[in-house]
């Protein structure tokens, strides 16, 4: 078992770890913009489009006689090749969509598959002509972080800094352009320039990333951290920070767990040489982080929404019981109360307990009655109910027989502000459509 800190210093482990973390950081930052533009599948298309360029870089390296050892030059050739290939892909997608009126999904899929096909053909060429470099070709398919060196890290580091600085410099332009394109035009934002910057950023993120997670899975790193981050904040700039943090986390965990789990498996199956590939593992972790955030993020997560809905339903049940007691004007037994509500006797008993704890009702012998505070709360509910009925019947001309059902629902929803508006609008009515008195404020 390695200590996590070792991953940053050990000469073998540090390059893959740092390299992956840098790459995930870049992808997640750019991914925020991609996500907000609702172009998440663009990353998918561009990563595949970079593949032929990557291979071409390898071909050139082979042609000028480089070997596996000239890591720096090789990396640069690959990066440059991938960069221009992806850029060409991007330009082609725009051309197909704007000039040939091909639908967005078709354009993305055409570029994705044709560029990739060309790449595969080139890869098979490399396989035969520059066999010693074939390993390079393979490693860009699903990523091969494990063979990264310090040189890679330095190159990626520089590119990452460039990306971060660019985003910081143009933060507000990107924000307004992403949010409201037409408005941006009217206030003089140089749309063409900002779009171009966005395109360059996404292509850079792609070529940095494909070494770690590979061409096929790259798009996940644009989508997952950004989607997760969205769950925790409504602020544009905070979203970058949270997404970046998630990116770094996934990059680290991917490497860490890949090593740990592989060692553990080697322990159990010493005869097999099992290892978990890092790239797919990073993607797996990122997807799980995203899934977790969608479920459990405070406020927006599914779990919290379900809890809030349940709380509201409980409140509704409580208020209905108070209403019943108020209307009947006399102490009632458990059974009497239950007759007026939907729900079984156990739920009723539990609700009555809760209301007792909140001192809205009190119990004497076998009956329940409203306390003074309880009377006030109940009167308020009835007031909202009847105000709403007046509104529907007199101003929206809904039939008098129909208003009750809606009021049953809305009485639990109306806030004090809405109540004030209603009272003013209806000029503080005294009777509801059923000629029953409306409790005063």
């Amino acid at each position: 078992m390695e200590s996590p800190l070792n991953f940053f210093f050990d000469p073998i482990l540090r390059a893959p770890t740092l390299g992956s973390m840098l790459m995930c950081l870049t992808a997640s930052l750019v991914g925020v913009i991609v996500f907000l533009r609702k172009r998440s599948l663009l990353g998918e298309s561009l990563s595949h489009a970079s593949y032929p360029g990557v291979i071409l870089g390898v071909v050139i390296a082979g042609y000028i006689g480089l070997s596996d050892q000239n890591e720096a030059v090789l990396s640069l050739l690959v990066l440059i090749g991938g960069f221009f290939s992806a850029l060409l892909g991007l330009y082609s997608i725009n051309f197909l969509e704007n000039n040939l009126k091909i639908k967005a999904d078709s354009a993305l899929c055409v570029i994705l598959s044709t560029f990739f096909g060309v790449g595969i053909t080139l890869a098979s060429f490399v396989q035969f002509n520059y066999t010693n470099l074939y390993r390079q070709v393979q490693s860009y398919l699903y990523g091969q972080a494990a063979t990264m060196t310090d040189i890679n890290v330095i190159i990626y580091g520089i590119l990452t800094i460039f990306v971060i600085v660019t985003i910081l410099l143009f933060l507000k332009e990107i924000q307004v352009l992403t949010f409201d394109r037409i408005f941006s035009k009217t206030i003089g934002i140089p749309i063409v320039v900002i779009d171009m910057i966005f395109f360059i950023l996404i292509v850079l993120a792609v070529i940095i990333g494909i070494r770690s997670v590979g061409v096929v899975l790259m798009s996940a790193m644009f989508i997952a951290p950004a989607s997760a981050a969205r769950q925790y904040t409504n602020s544009f700039s905070k979203m970058f920070i949270i997404a970046g943090f998630f990116g770094l986390l996934c990059g680290f965990l991917g490497n860490y767990l890949s090593v740990e789990i592989s060692q553990y498996l080697a322990h159990i199956y010493p005869n097999e040489r099992v290892s978990i590939p890092t790239g797919p593992l990073i993607v797996l972790i990122a997807s799980l982080v995203c899934f977790w955030s969608l479920l459990f993020a405070p406020r927006q997560g599914l779990l919290f929404r379900i809890v809030r809905i349940a709380k509201f339903k409980l409140q509704t049940l409580e208020e209905n019981v108070l209403k019943t007691l108020w209307r009947r004007g006399e102490p009632l037994t458990l059974k009497d109360i239950q007759a007026y509500q939907n729900g079984n006797i156990f739920t009723m008993w539990w609700i009555l307990n809760l209301l007792q704890k909140r001192k809205f009702i009190a119990k004497s012998s076998h009956t329940y009655y409203l306390t003074d505070i309880g009377k006030i709360v109940a009167a308020k509910i009835v007031r909202l109910h009847r105000l709403w009925e007046v509104y529907l019947a007199n101003y929206l001309e809904i039939g008098v027989e129909k208003v009750h059902k809606s009021a049953e629902e809305m009485e639990h929803v109306l806030t004090p502000e809405l109540e004030k508006e209603l009272t003013a609008f209806l000029q503080d009515p005294v009777l509801d459509p059923h000629h029953q008195p409306i409790p005063a404020k």
């Binding site: 998440s40 595969i120 398919l141 989508i223 099992v274 590939p277 797996l284 599914l302």
Partner: protein, 336 residues
């Protein structure tokens, strides 16, 4: 020990040889078993491109190509699970990395993953309230990553991962023809039987529902077809390049015609033609330059070239060609 009559043929000799062999076949001099690998490749790729052309036209017109991309990725995990179940996989016994799983298991697996993918995507969109493009992306990359991890750890054959993606046309055998022929037949029958239903539900979904032709039923039917077509194709061209077979011939055909039926026919011809040219080219390069390139990749390259040529020819012959794709006249008037 037979010799392959296509050895050492160049591009044109390849076709000559194929022509003679076909005549021999019709005359009865050659039997099914005497088909050589080049011919097997031709037949399989012909059938694959025919299936994908048909299904692809509908997918392109229904704007469901990303869904097809998604399904062709997630099929990997279906294949892996089917493989594990049918070989009662444990790490030790997975030495047989040939992936020759029986066909019905694979078909069931692919349909199951199609449903799984759609269900998960809908779950992310409807219940977790994530935007649609992100949902599609997360679901298929997650399932694909899972599939890759399972493949590499449980079969420990690193090449398997690449083969699934790239296919291996050169490894095709006689026994591969039957399943893909059945799949093509099925696709052809479904589309010709339901021709007008597919047509109207693609063009005008609301009107279609109003006259009683359910748009969603035909969406599911199409998805089923994508699943089985992808399974048929993955051994030869791999899951990623099958997307090219699905999208490029239909888009090329669309340039030339304004009739849906012609579009289907043209895509078929373009797809099949590209396959033949690709196989011939592959043999040619092997003969002349002694390099064995990926045949699947070459076919995609041919399709791409044909697509580019189509765009350019029309661009220069008819200067107002692009107007065909521009907005309708009334929009132009409105926008001044």
């Amino acid at each position: 020990m037979y010799s392959n009559p296509y050895n050492n043929t160049n591009f044109f000799e390849f076709f000559l040889q194929a022509f003679w062999r076909m005549i021999g076949f019709i005359k009865g001099d050659l039997s099914y078993n005497s088909l050589v690998s080049d011919e097997v490749q031709l037949i399989v790729l012909t059938l694959v491109s025919a299936s994908t052309a048909l299904v692809g036209c509908l997918l392109v017109l229904r704007k469901m190509t990303m869904l097809a991309n998604s399904l062709s990725h997630t099929i990997l995990i279906g294949i892996v699970v089917a493989f594990l179940i049918t070989t009662r996989g444990s790490i030790e016994s997975s030495h047989d990395a040939n992936m020759t799983i029986n066909l019905s298991a694979m078909i069931i697996a692919s349909i199951a993953t199609a449903f799984l993918t759609t269900f998960l995507t809908e779950f992310f969109v409807r219940i977790l309230k994530l935007q649609e493009d992100a949902s599609i992306g997360i679901v298929f990359t997650f399932l694909f990553a899972l599939g890759i991890i399972l493949v590499t750890t449980l079969t420990r054959n690193a090449h398997l991962g690449t083969e699934v993606v790239m296919g291996n046309v050169d490894a095709l055998q006689l026994s591969d023809i039957f399943p893909i022929a059945m799949i093509f037949l099925l696709n052809g029958v479904i589309i010709s039987l339901f021709y007008k239903e597919f047509l109207v539900s693609t063009f005008d979904p609301l009107f279609s529902s109003a006259i009683g032709i359910s748009t969603s039923f035909f969406n599911y039917l199409l998805m089923f077809q994508v699943a089985i077509t992808a399974i048929g194709a993955f051994r030869s061209v791999g899951v990623l390049m099958v997307l090219a077979f699905i999208t490029v011939p239909p888009l090329t055909a669309r340039i030339f015609t304004k009739h849906f039926s012609t579009m289907l026919l043209l895509s078929l011809m373009i797809g099949i033609g590209s396959s033949w040219i690709g196989v011939a080219f592959s043999r040619h390069i092997l003969t002349i330059h002694d390099i064995a390139l990926s045949t699947g990749g070459l076919v995609v390259c041919v399709m791409t070239v044909i697509f580019l040529l189509s765009i350019f020819t029309f661009l220069f012959r008819k200067p107002n060609f692009l107007n065909k794709f521009r907005m309708t006249p009334s929009d132009e008037l409105l926008n001044g």
